[in-house]
């Protein structure tokens, strides 16, 4: 994140403030009213209202703050990830399942014979 961008700082601040349960309640009840408490410019407001996760990342917001908004609004990290990949939830699940299978041989686990080091 570029800390010198004032609106970006404000977006980060409103997300950080979601550590407070009262603010989580407020954003659930009326997202726009909650966002308006902060000095957000129009493009920032659009990104937030559209839940444009990748747009917010491109604007410089860290995913560690987006998960706080996800927690308040009931959007999981997996749902954010599917959106960022432009995949359906089902397509994303399939990708993860296939990746798990492909990588299983590289696992080193208790009680298993250690595979050759790559």
């Amino acid at each position: 994140m570029n800390a010198h961008d004032a609106s970006l700082y404000e977006i980060s601040r409103l997300l950080y403030d979601l550590r407070n349960p009262a603010n989580r309640e407020a954003v659930r009840a009326n997202p726009q009213a909650y966002y308006r408490r902060y000095a957000i410019d129009d493009s920032g407001m659009r990104l937030l209202m559209n839940r444009d996760w990748q747009g917010l990342v491109d604007a410089g917001v860290t995913v560690y703050l987006l998960t706080k908004l996800g927690a308040a609004l009931g959007v999981s990290l997996l749902e954010m990830g599917a959106a960022m990949r432009k995949m359906s939830h089902e397509e994303f699940r399939r990708f993860i399942d296939e990746q798990n299978k492909r990588h299983r041989a590289l696992a080193v686990l208790p009680g298993e014979t250690q595979p050759e080091k790559p």
Partner: protein, 275 residues
């Protein structure tokens, strides 16, 4: 004189905490990782540490961008549990080893590391995902230490390595008899943004562990951009492992390592001991 008796590197993804809290740790998907952590916890207990120095990174849960430290050390008697957005997890505050923390802070400043000290610090998943698996019930007091991997500008891996060396020297100069273990948490590979969201870089993770075993100092020559390219943007947390490994006396060697590429992450637990 204090002695460093063990080093441990491990992942700290929030998914570990979710599995622990929900009981999913016994499901077939998660059990291998929790078995690996259980073995690491048993092994660490056998080394009989009196204090744990835990090097991790905060994820904008304790610090905000109003004041964001590159390197920070918790110097309190106890540490609170952060509310990351779901409510705080149900753990008692974590006891701190304040005397060791104050000693480390003073010696690190003497050694050229102008770090921030924190007298009230909330621990987030960087600490709390793995630590209940390693020291359930908080039997061993801790000194939490954070290295920034979130807000630009980031410290160079070489600087994180040097910090680890300074931590090692500072521990050894502690005037009382104390057995200390150093833990570094984070990584390994993960990418949580963009079209590669969820990609795990398992081959690189294995190579990283092998390098940490055979040529750890060589990892200090990588840049943050190198780590991001090789293991995904959010894998740069591996600098916490570098600092841990650099704190150990030479020679030290890897006792065992477990690696589990699963879901969004390359999970790992590795143990090191002075030879």
């Amino acid at each position: 004189m204090a002695t460093i008796v063990a080093g441990l590197g491990c992942s700290h993804a929030p998914s570990i905490a979710h599995a622990y809290d929900s009981g999913a740790s016994r499901d077939p998907g998660w059990k291998p990782l929790f078995d690996a952590f259980a073995e690491a916890g048993r092994w660490l207990a056998e080394q009989r540490p009196d204090a744990l120095v835990v090097i991790y990174n905060d994820h904008v849960d304790n610090y905000s961008f109003d004041a964001w430290p590159t390197f920070a050390l918790g110097v309190a008697d106890e540490f609170q549990i952060a509310d990351e957005g779901w409510g705080p997890r149900r753990f008692a505050p974590v006891p701190g080893h304040r005397a060791l923390a104050h000693h480390l802070a003073a010696r690190l400043l003497d050694g050229g590391f102008d770090l921030m000290t924190s007298h009230r610090m909330e621990l987030d998943h960087g600490f709390l995902s793995p630590m209940p698996l390693i020291d359930e019930g908080w039997r061993i007091p801790v000194v939490p230490m954070t290295i920034n991997v979130v807000l630009d500008p980031l410290p160079a891996p070489a600087r994180c390595w040097a910090l680890g060396e300074a931590v090692g020297a500072a521990i050894k100069s502690y005037p009382e008899t104390l057995r200390v273990a150093v833990i570094g948490t984070g990584g390994l590979s993960h990418q949580l943004t963009g079209p590669d969201f969820g990609k795990v870089f398992a081959e690189w993770d294995r190579e990283f562990i092998a390098l940490l075993d055979r040529a750890p100092a060589s990892l200090a020559r990588y840049t943050m951009a190198d780590f991001a390219r090789l293991g995904g943007e959010h894998s740069i947390e591996v600098v916490q492992w570098l600092a841990m490994r650099a704190a150990l006396p030479e020679p030290s060697r890897m006792e065992f390592n477990y690696y589990y590429p699963f879901g969004l992450m390359g999970y790992a637990v590795a143990a090191f001991r002075p030879a």
